[in-house]
Symmetry: C2
Subunit: 407 residues, 2 copies
């Protein structure tokens, strides 16, 4: 799956035979991969899930767990999420919580609901590739969301009108973003709310990595800041918060959630009813039990493991990267974002890296809605061992050094 | 969920207060319901599911089961389905099988893939309401699919052009259809293939109830007949087969599948990747085990139970329905379709039935893309006990008799 992402970036410029050659390389076990944007499934609580499935299927819950259920989601899971959101400073009711089959599905429904061909979505450059993929199905144009820009509101409107539509929403990953690992400051978040208020559009806050902070201070979610602007009235906010269990408890159950004003939730429920009826009943019943029992402990486990890997990767980058290469220092999440000297190409580097160094990563251009970012790349440390990190970054450093000398 | 369907049919004509009154009635336990189009979850193999979840989560499969997986679906489940389809006379490979989160999701993706606003979908009158709901998101027009009509091919094209699009596909439920319970004959199926061949469009064969035949002879699937027309070359067929585990093993896991030529499958896989990445990994792993172990035995159990309920309902209808009321005699599935005398209105009857008889069903107009069918209604026997059937049909017969006398 993630190899597709790697190759999507080169496919347009490579012959089929070249792609096949690269794919053959990736099947080989000696490749050190920092490419996959996936969590470490060895850290997930398999035993607790096993116990919860057994419990649900052996008791009175078995019959409803195997039956159809309501499109908005299983009530005990929504109730747990109300408590979870309250701990994040967001007071809402179960009517504001909608369960989706992974937060990716939430992005798809939001694209479906808001975008007509030619409309504009504001996204960061770079942005999560999967969000661009979900939105692309509805044929939008993209404009740049940059909380520090001084662009006039009218310039967004004019640019959107030029592609035959209107600005429909802003999308961002404020915490430990995919792909850069960076976190938006409180001022950045307020600036996004100012802009979207002026444009009268929703903000889609993709909080997929929110729980994975290793250090630094918590920044309130955009939704929490938006709530403050509306005296705590959740039904008055313009923020649509997309949460996910995929980075903390498991992506294999396909469970995410959306928190928003109840009018929007009602529309999303109707969209889901038409699209796939509802999310797996049994998985929701099991997740309600597992989240209640060990969400906090599980988050601690994952944070500790990823913090160690991030530290190891940053130390290796410090040791091995030549001068002129820059990278982010994320306070959480799964990714480090590397910027090569101008003129170097991440996709070309990948091809060379796979062949000569046996190291994989994702070139950065694929994350850029405008096709820029050729000299960037994403490294994921989430599934890497100390040895993989030390050896893989050393090899990558040597390769980049050689390339820079050759340039 | 299914109450929404009941009320969707009246909502346009009722005041909110009236709807609230009816909803209050439906919360009461003394209502006898033939409304819900849902299987009897008490018949599902909860113990076998429990054992399979335990097995997957305690062995080496636990880590991959909790991880992201490929968009096309879990290979062992696709392999089981290749064998299942072979038993239905369809020879295909795993490349022709695509796992979806319930066959409803397959209908949504097919709508997304084929329909632009103003395009035409051919559907039976009546048709499965959920299919119309899925397609409606893509703003099609509908034209009638009637295998026994003698309409010229050009008339379909002209009608589609008049709404600004083209005929994009035909959709039907050939076996024990929702809502009528009727089955298309082999000749009907061949006629549909003739028409769609002439129009050069796909046929979406919704086989949700295919396994639930109680008596009568099996009719080959449209896909099997299409394969015969193409010398067994699955990649040359125009039929898109949508299968479901929801009526046999459980809807709570949200698992269905599509079988089609590999070019179409590839497009659907890309659509799913953008829309929700993939179907629940663990549920697919569990279903592969449970289907392998007991699909046939499970189908026997469900057939026996539903056959008994169908017989009981047909006998009750024979006893209690006044002359002038007609109904189908399904050879399988979950539904009997009742036609009232011209001039009677199923939605009005429902309101009266809920109030005076405490019996619920689904009025038929909601299944008609053209708003016809006012004098029809759908009865489901899938979850009904002998006593419910005897008493509920007796009450409904009395009510209809009274209404006919009053008309």
């Amino acid at each position: 799956m993630n190899w597709d992402q790697v190759f999507a970036t080169r496919a347009g410029r490579m012959k089929a035979s070249e792609i096949r050659e690269l794919l053959k390389l990736l099947d080989q076990p000696d490749i050190i991969s920092f490419a996959g944007g996936i969590p470490d499934a060895r850290l997930f609580p398999a035993e607790a899930f096993g116990a919860a499935y057994a419990e649900v299927l052996s008791g009175p819950d078995a019959v409803p767990a195997l039956q159809y259920s309501v499109s908005e989601g299983y009530r005990p899971l929504r109730d747990w999420l109300v408590g979870h959101m309250a701990r994040l400073g967001v007071t809402c009711s179960a009517n504001n919580v909608f369960i989706v089959s992974g937060s990716q599905q939430g992005l798809d429904y939001l694209g479906k609901l808001f975008l007509s061909p030619g409309d504009t979505a504001l996204v960061t450059f770079p942005a999560y590739m999967g969000a661009l993929g979900a939105f692309n199905a509805y044929e939008p144009a993209y404009d740049r969301l940059d909380p520090r820009s001084n662009r006039e509101v009218e310039s967004y409107r004019d640019k959107a009108a030029a592609t035959g539509g209107r600005v429909k929403f802003a999308y961002c990953v404020p915490d430990f973003s995919n792909p850069t690992g960076e976190t938006l400051s409180r001022a950045d978040r307020e600036a996004i709310l100012d802009l979207t208020e002026a444009l009268d559009i929703p903000v889609i806050e993709d909080a997929a990595y929110q729980a994975l902070r290793f250090d630094g201070d918590n920044v309130p979610s955009i939704l929490a800041l938006d709530l403050q602007r509306h005296n705590g009235d959740i039904d008055a906010v313009r923020t649509v918060y997309c949460g996910s269990f995929s980075k903390t408890l498991s992506p294999g159950l396909r469970l995410g959630w959306i928190v928003a004003g109840k009018d929007l939730i009602r529309k999303l429920v109707l969209a889901k009813q038409a699209a796939d009826l509802h999310t797996s009943t049994i998985n929701q019943a099991v997740m309600a039990k597992v989240a209640t029992r060990l969400f906090d402990a599980q988050v601690d486990t994952i944070r500790a493991a990823y913090r160690h890997r991030r530290d190891r990767m940053l130390a290796a980058l410090d040791r091995h990267m030549p001068k002129g290469v820059q990278w982010t220092r994320p306070e959480g999440g799964m990714f480090v974002w590397v910027t090569l000297p101008e003129g170097m190409d991440g996709a070309d580097l990948l091809a060379k890296s796979l062949q000569s160094q046996r190291v994989a990563f994702v070139p950065g251009r694929a994350f850029h809605a405008d096709g820029s970012g050729a000299n960037t790349l994403r490294l994921s440390y989430s599934c890497a061992s100390d040895e993989m990190i030390d050896e893989g970054i050393a090899r990558l450093g040597r390769l980049i050094e050689g390339e820079m000398a050759g340039v």
